[in-house]
Symmetry: C2
Subunit: 349 residues, 2 copies
DNA sequence: AACTAGAATGTTGTCGGTAACATCGTTCTG
DNA sequence: CAGAACGATGTTACCGACAACATTCTAGTT
């Protein structure tokens, strides 16, 4: 039957250091390894008696498939490479988490390569690293332009998907937040009587940031409001604070639309330090609805953003390409307006 | 020579869909595949002329090693499995990021399996999944007791390391925050004249949380202060808020030591809603120094916590075991007290 | 009972590397 | 100058799974 001998010599002992292979199972069941393989792959035509023996041997030896071997032969692994920037940030972190969970549910593991922003060669190194580990597909999550560019220039030889908010494409779920959410947010402010707004944008390197800015501008225009300033931050609370604190004079606005909640937090503190009351004197709204948003002082009006859903959706997209199946649509709930106390009626002059 | 034929038939064209193997390189260089393999593994005894041809062929074909094949034979992969809870949380997220970057720098990829807290079988499934993908080692980051237990009960067959704050062990860098940081924090409050403190703890499932609580109790005792209450949260801002808001009457304390910054945020809002001023009426201090801490209202006194360093340190520990080398110590800066405006002198009765 | 189609199962080769062993040349020694 | 000794390179086997092809077995037909 099998040519493999038990190197330990002992047979009754259960303590085996090495994982059982299909050959071990085959020997134990008194069948060929191929029969075991067939069983594992769900082949139907196996006689009940044989099947029984295989099942039992499988169970006895505690067989676990060696995915490395499988992937070597079949050329397909059950790993998805994911490149992401700054996963410690709330947004990217939640996207990654959603992706990771979705991947696991589908029997895949997510190889996450986190890019070190301080290391300029990180992108290159990461791409090189990732191309060696043959993967079923590659995902770019939470990307900057630089990364998108490097990503698209790389021939992975496997399906890939960029989960950034794409710019031109219509009807793409990735742009939902900007296309649907931001207008709602602006309309909310307009409904409260605000006419002159300031936008605090994220870094222009991120397409997500540019989309939000563009959506803001379009909404302001269509509602006949006035944008009296666009400031820039880097998504952090510190940058939001600086954006306001560094101004020699505050713009003549009654509301601030900030591109994410963290920056909004900094903006609020800076405004308060200027002696303004929120929302009596100025309204501040954020985007993302981070868990802390409801507990800021004042609680922040913002836009819910289903990051986990985005991660899941990205994995679903990639899986559809990998497995050549029809895309199982992941319902990503549309962003919704969450009104809290940081926004209120525009002050009467 | 080689028995492999070029399936495309064309030879001049550079467009090959498949990655070049050492056999392709060998053929191009007119040597055996083993010579190529030897070169790649850094074997010295290769004639300069031969070496030259190999280098050139390697370069021409853009050879990239297939790590799957290598790991099948050699039994060692360049992947580290990492299990983590709630990586979207700031702390765990930053630990994972630090680990991911450290792993990449060492030429490893981190397979991150994020556990879905809502799915009770997630731990089990994840462990099963991770044991299949033969890994160089396994890391448990940001763990709960339940996970630690499951983790330790699993025979991975490869080195593993749990990066949680261990309880009994002395001189372990993992407990630094509690052992050094918390006493400093309590001493800071004592120095401001506070005598009666309240502690808002994290979930008791986390050893990190229990350590902080125990360190708090010990410090209170040694400084002759009084702990007038220990409340419990789940690390979230919401739970911090609830812990206070649900009380029918506030305890007679002048300072709150909260186990992390997010909860502190909620605690501060709840206290303010009770009409207390911070820090004039009560002081609140947190732990972790999340980036937002400096921009809360008032900015939060807290303890810095080098999460990334913890991640790097964990990877270093694991790599030392994997590669059987001496541990390259990762300098994790000790936690330091960051005094901001949320703590002030105890009010005079 | 002999024959045969088709189902069940076994055998061999393959994926891309690594390792052990085999072989071919050198150069050095006596 | 023969032969040893060693250095450089080639051959073959192997890791654990899958796939193609080969073979055996079973059951139905005449």
């Amino acid at each position: 039957m099998s040519t493999r001998a038990d190197p330990s010599g002992s047979s009754g002992v259960e303590t085996r250091a090495k994982a059982a292979t299909i050959y071990d199972v085959a020997q134990a069941a008194g069948v060929s390894h191929q029969t075991v393989s067939r069983f594992l792959r769900g082949f139907e035509g196996i006689r009940p008696a044989t099947r029984e023996r295989v099942v039992q041997a499988l169970d006895e030896l505690g067989y676990r498939p060696n995915l490395t071997a499988r992937s070597l032969k079949s050329g397909q692994s059950h790993r998805i490479g994911a490149l992401a920037h700054e996963i410690s940030q709330v947004g990217p972190g939640r996207i990654v988490e959603g992706a990771s969970i979705a991947a696991r549910e589908a029997g895949y593991v997510l190889d996450i390569v986190s890019l070190d922003t301080r290391n300029p060669r990180a992108i290159e190194e990461s791409l090189a690293l990732i191309t060696q580990h043959d993967l079923a597909g590659v995902l770019a999550l939470a990307v900057t332009d630089e990364m998108t560019k490097a990503f698209e220039a790389t021939a992975f030889g496997v399906p890939s998907y960029v989960a950034s908010e794409s710019e031109g494409v219509e009807d793409d779920p990735r742009g939902l937040l900007s296309k649907v959410g931001i207008p709602t947010l602006v309309a909310h402010l307009a409904g409260l009587g605000h006419r002159r707004l300031v936008h605090v944008a994220g870094p222009s390197m991120w397409s997500a940031s540019r989309n939000r800015t563009r959506a803001y501008e379009a909404a302001v225009e269509s509602l006949n409001l006035e944008s009296v300033g666009i400031l820039h931050g880097d998504w952090s609370a510190a940058s939001g604070y600086r954006a306001i604190a560094d101004l020699s004079a505050l713009p003549d606005a009654t509301a601030y639309l900030v591109a994410n909640d963290q920056m909004a937090l900094g903006v609020m503190l800076a405004l308060k330090e200027r002696g303004l009351r929120i929302p009596q004197d100025v309204s501040v709204v954020g985007v993302d609805d981070i868990p802390e948003a409801a507990y800021l002082d004042p609680p922040l009006t913002t836009l819910s953003n289903d990051f986990e859903g985005q991660g899941r959706a990205a994995v679903a997209q990639l899986l559809a390409r990998i497995e050549r199946t029809v895309l199982t649509p992941v319902a990503v709930p549309p962003p919704s307006l969450i009104v809290r106390r940081s926004s209120g009626p525009a002050p009467v002059r």
